[in-house]
């Protein structure tokens, strides 16, 4: 049952080979039994899950259901869920229960998914290892001494460990794709504006985008179809029609041109990973795709630009956590200033504080032009690079991350080294483009991710390419032994 795709599970549910309750209970049992080792969930909601499963089963007997009816999933704990705590991985929101659902949550709920719980994450989605969570680090299911990646590390670990069929995630600089790569699963970050940000707790508003972590591109297509679309409550959501992503999964790859940016295959990339990627490139050629070298000359500027823009936005976005209306409040404040200072000092972790300070600095009078404005100009150059490349190629291919999952604690003392984990993923967010990571040949028993990037709103193309490779390979079927 656990190895089935969503389409297969849905068929099984409709044909009553098994019930949603049975499926849900199986997964809840796995979580109860094994998640102590991984720490992938912050909140598990078994009673609610079983009630939703029973409701799904009732619908399934009547027929005329959505493909997702009765399918158990998990939400990253950044998506607001009415009545269920949404912590965002922070002590600040340890007591926060939103009175509303995120649009992504309500759309999936309307399709009849079963919610198993809320997954662990780096605090306020700031991190690349999931070690920055108030609720403790998440372990990589392939090697529990290693990180699962971040910030959607809980979602990635939970999907890889088969605690849930799929999970939602968010990606600001690689937070879906890098953990998907580290955990050997498929993760897609759609075009900026494709999924509504309503009810998704903001880290860096101009970069944040919701997406899916799943075991296959075919599964991701089903979920993304349900999550995507225009939402009047999010001014930045795109009023662009959502195609049927499943319909084009099997499209032929003859005539498709794949670009290989030379900047993504240079120094800094692990040699073994390069070999895995090359092997996948050969497979794409065998499927009929043409490959050519391209250049994204401003790639090297993406990490510095990102670490100006994202902290700037976060310094402002996180100002609302002031201990006044909700969230953590220090005890017995002496005065207003004390209330602010201690509430925030007590409840934010080190990485969040670091970014708030960087962001406050780069927006300060006298520094704005030198940092924030300059970074925005670089952002434009990076987007121009991609637009030029897409005049010649349909998709851009490269590694998702420069290394495989690293050891827990290994990069904690060096924020810059940690930031470089996202060197291949960050530019996609700056350009607003869709990106997907899928597993290719592992290195030393650890998963390796291959990243595909396409032009605006070409998610169907990404899912098509990923699915075609998954039809002729088994890497995505591999599951860790827990």
């Amino acid at each position: 049952m656990l190895d089935l795709t969503i389409a297969e599970l849905s068929a099984g549910l409709r044909q009553r080979h098994f019930s949603s309750r049975e499926l849900t209970q199986t997964l809840l049992d796995r979580i109860a039994r094994y998640d102590a080792q991984l720490n992938s969930f912050i909140t598990v909601t078994p009673e609610l899950a079983l009630a939703q499963a029973d409701a799904a089963d009732a619908l399934l007997t009547q027929g005329d259901c959505h493909l997702l009816t009765g399918i158990p999933i998990a939400h990253k704990d950044i998506f607001c869920t009415a009545g269920i705590r949404t912590s965002c991985g922070s002590k600040m929101l340890d007591n926060f229960i939103a009175p509303y659902d995120a649009t992504v949550v309500s759309q999936l709920a309307a399709a009849g998914v079963v919610l198993l719980g809320k997954t662990n994450m780096d605090e306020f989605a700031m991190g690349s290892s999931n070690e920055n969570s108030y609720y403790g680090a998440v372990k990589n299911p392939w090697d529990k001494t290693r990180v699962p990646g971040g910030s959607s590390g809980g979602s990635a670990a939970a999907v890889a460990a088969q605690f849930c069929i799929a999970a939602t995630g968010t990606d600001t600089g690689g937070s879906i794709r890098q953990p998907a790569a580290f955990c050997g699963i498929t993760g897609i970050k759609p075009t900026y504006g494709r999924c509504s940000r309503w009810g998704m707790i903001a880290f860096a508003s101009s970069l944040d985008q919701a997406g899916v972590l799943s075991r296959s591109a075919a599964d991701a297509a089903v979920l993304l179809n349900t999550m995507a679309g225009f939402d009047a409550r999010d001014s930045t959501s795109a009023n662009v029609a959502v195609p049927d992503y499943s319909a084009t999964l099997n499209n032929d790859l003859h005539g498709v041109t794949i670009g290989l940016p030379r900047e993504y295959f240079g120094a800094g990339l692990d040699n073994h990973i390069a070999v895995s990627i090359q092997q996948a490139i050969k497979l794409y050629e065998s499927l009929g795709a043409r490959v050519r070298d391209i250049s994204l000359p401003n790639s090297a500027l993406s990490v510095p630009a990102y670490y100006v823009i994202a902290p700037a936005e976060c310094s402002s976005n996180l100002a609302r956590y002031d201990g006044v209306r909700f969230g953590h409040r220090c005890t017995a404040p002496r005065d207003l200033n004390d209330l602010y200072c201690r509430s925030r000092a007590e409840a934010f972790g080190a990485e969040v504080k670091r970014r708030i300070m960087i962001g406050t600095y780069v927006l300060s009078a006298g520094y704005y032009d030198a940092y924030y404005l300059k970074a925005q100009q670089i952002r434009r150059l990076i987007r121009d690079d991609f637009q030029r490349a897409f005049e010649d190629v349909d998709v851009i291919l490269g590694p998702t991350a420069p290394t495989t999952a690293f050891l827990l604690g290994d990069q904690c003392d060096d924020p810059v080294a940690m930031y470089l984990n996202d060197i291949y993923t960050i530019s996609t967010n700056l350009a607003g483009l869709p990106g997907l990571s899928l597993p290719v040949a592992p290195v030393n028993g650890l998963p390796v991710g291959l990243q595909l990037v396409a032009n605006d709103f070409q998610e169907a193309r990404l899912l098509n390419l990923a699915h075609r490779l998954q039809q002729i390979t088994d890497w995505h079927r591999a599951a860790p032994l827990i």
């Binding site: 929101l93 939103a98 509303y100 508003s205 999010d234 006044v324």
Partner: protein, 493 residues
């Protein structure tokens, strides 16, 4: 030394939209605390702003009314600072790219000449909430913790997110008087074009004044002080007068003015320092990534312009020209749309614009002023007043009686029906010449001594005879007629 006063005003006017600028919560005034604040106004995690199109329309209307450049693209920015009544830790405002660019209005100076006052810009922004302190007005919110002795402040977020248009003038104003005239002009305009109720008690129209002094003839501006949050024209005048005296004394004593924010205390009639420039926040403005730039279609901008009513200045000029009204009369008649409509209705029924203007600016204005109500709430409608003025015109009643009738109408006597009040009070004027001559002759006969004195040159006694006639007619004699007839009868013989 002679000093030149330089004043610029920033006026925050609340826009008359039914919902807030970035949320669907209502904007009505006076609801119980925090009942008109939704998740967006509270700044809960994950919420997002969506711009209210009606607020944009209001801003464009204003821009058109002051002949300003309307920006094709304007941008919302975040103004970052911490305060308990600022839920998100930033105010969404416009900074580098406001929706309304440079424009101007004209004010009328005391000598009747016009002065053009430049408007630098007008931009959209959201209002903050209100902090309510324990010893403040709303005891219901204050929590008195007897056990700890702690004092509390409450926060009311009903106002948070209310749309404001901040209108920034050039430093073109040269006296408190001009500043008040300009502020009144803007107040008139925003109400005239229907974008704000301008209610000053409810905080719908708040003024900040920047003021500095410089030696007469100097070209460089002096250091300014900013007086915040003035909510009446009278306080604006007094705050500026106080501040001018303060700065002049300071400068003449060889001191310097410090750039700072000051508050006007209307009870003590003085301004006090609130914070200096050094203590000022670094607001770290940057474009709000949650909102797209506001892109205005020229067709929309033109459509808004086409919907504008005739503006007060144009109407004032037309009234002066068409009806030969004085500037002062025309200004007060164009004080608001309601005043102008009242005038129009009266003129249509009565014809005599001068008579109408006199009545509106004297008896009616005094009564409205005394009752502190708007013309729209006047107990005497234009239609009712027209009935009274018609009787003045045809001399059925005297001017003195007319005032009496008006007071009775105001008080609601006879349902405000002028005819019935005139009848009930017997105020119909005696204009019958034969009747008047009979009364006059009787008066002459009864006062032969005074008649002799008058005829021998004591002209002052004429008034005595008028008084006697009026006494006999209980004031109902047509005074002009009485004068003429008396003169005639006293002269004969």
């Amino acid at each position: 030394m002679l000093w030149e006063i330089v004043i610029g005003l920033e006026i925050h006017t609340q826009l008359a939209t039914s919902s807030k600028i970035f949320s669907g919560a209502a904007t009505a005034f006076g609801a119980p605390p925090n009942t008109q604040a939704c998740a967006i106004d509270l700044g809960l995690p994950g919420v997002l702003p969506v711009l209210n199109a009606e607020a944009v329309r209001c801003a464009v209307r204003f821009g058109q009314a002051i002949n300003a450049h309307i920006a094709e693209y304007s941008i919302f920015a975040r103004k970052n600072y911490f305060y308990p009544d600022l839920p998100k830790g930033y105010q969404i405002s416009q900074y580098e790219h406001p929706i309304v660019g440079r424009g101007a209005v004209e004010i009328v100076l005391d000598d009747g000449t016009l002065k053009t006052i430049g408007i630098t810009r007008a931009h959209l922004e959201e209002d903050a909430g209100k902090s309510v302190h324990e010893d403040g007005l709303f005891d219901a919110i204050a929590i008195n913790d007897a056990a700890t002795g702690l004092r509390y402040s409450g926060i009311d977020l009903n106002r948070a997110g209310t749309p404001l248009l901040e209108i920034v003038s050039e430093p073109d104003l040269r006296s408190p008087h001009e500043a008040v005239a300009y502020a009144r002009k803007i107040h008139q305009l925003v109400r005239w074009i229907g974008i704000s109720d301008g209610n000053m008690q409810e905080g719908s129209f708040r003024m900040d004044a920047n003021i500095s002094l410089r030696p007469l003839g100097a070209t460089q501006l002096g250091t300014r002080a900013e007086i915040k949050n003035i909510n009446s024209f009278r306080f604006l005048q007094r705050a500026l007068e106080y501040e001018i005296d303060r700065q002049r004394e300071l400068l003449e004593d060889g001191g310097v003015v410090i750039q700072e924010t000051r508050l006007y205390d209307s009870v003590k009639d003085e301004t006090r320092s609130m914070r200096s420039k050094e203590e000022a926040n670094d607001y770290r403005y940057f474009p709000d990534p949650d909102l797209l730039p506001v892109a205005l279609d020229p067709a929309f901008v033109n459509a808004v312009a086409a919907e504008l009513p005739e503006l007060p200045d144009a109407l004032r000029q037309r009234l002066q020209l068409e009806y030969s009204l004085t500037a002062a009369d025309a200004i007060s008649i164009t004080a608001s749309q309601a005043t102008a409509a009242y005038f129009n209705q009266l003129v249509q029924q009565i014809g005599d614009a001068k008579l109408v203007a006199n009545w509106m600016n004297a008896a009616l204005a005094a009564a409205l002023n005394k009752a502190a109500i708007e013309i729209s709430a006047s107990p005497v409608s234009a239609h009712q007043l027209a009935a009274l003025l018609a009787r003045v015109q045809d001399q059925t009643i005297s001017a003195t009686s007319a005032k009496q009738v008006f007071e009775a109408m105001w008080a609601g006597e006879e349902n405000g029906d002028a005819e019935r009040i005139i009848a009930a009070r017997g105020l119909r004027q005696i204009s019958d010449e034969a009747a008047l001559i009979a009364i006059i002759d009787a008066v002459i006969a009864a006062n032969s001594q005074q008649v002799a004195q008058y005829r021998s040159g004591k002209d002052k006694l004429f008034g005595f005879f008028v008084g006697q006639v009026m006494k006999q007619t209980r004031g109902q004699a047509n005074p002009a007629q009485v004068n003429a007839l008396l003169e005639m009868r006293l002269r004969t013989d």
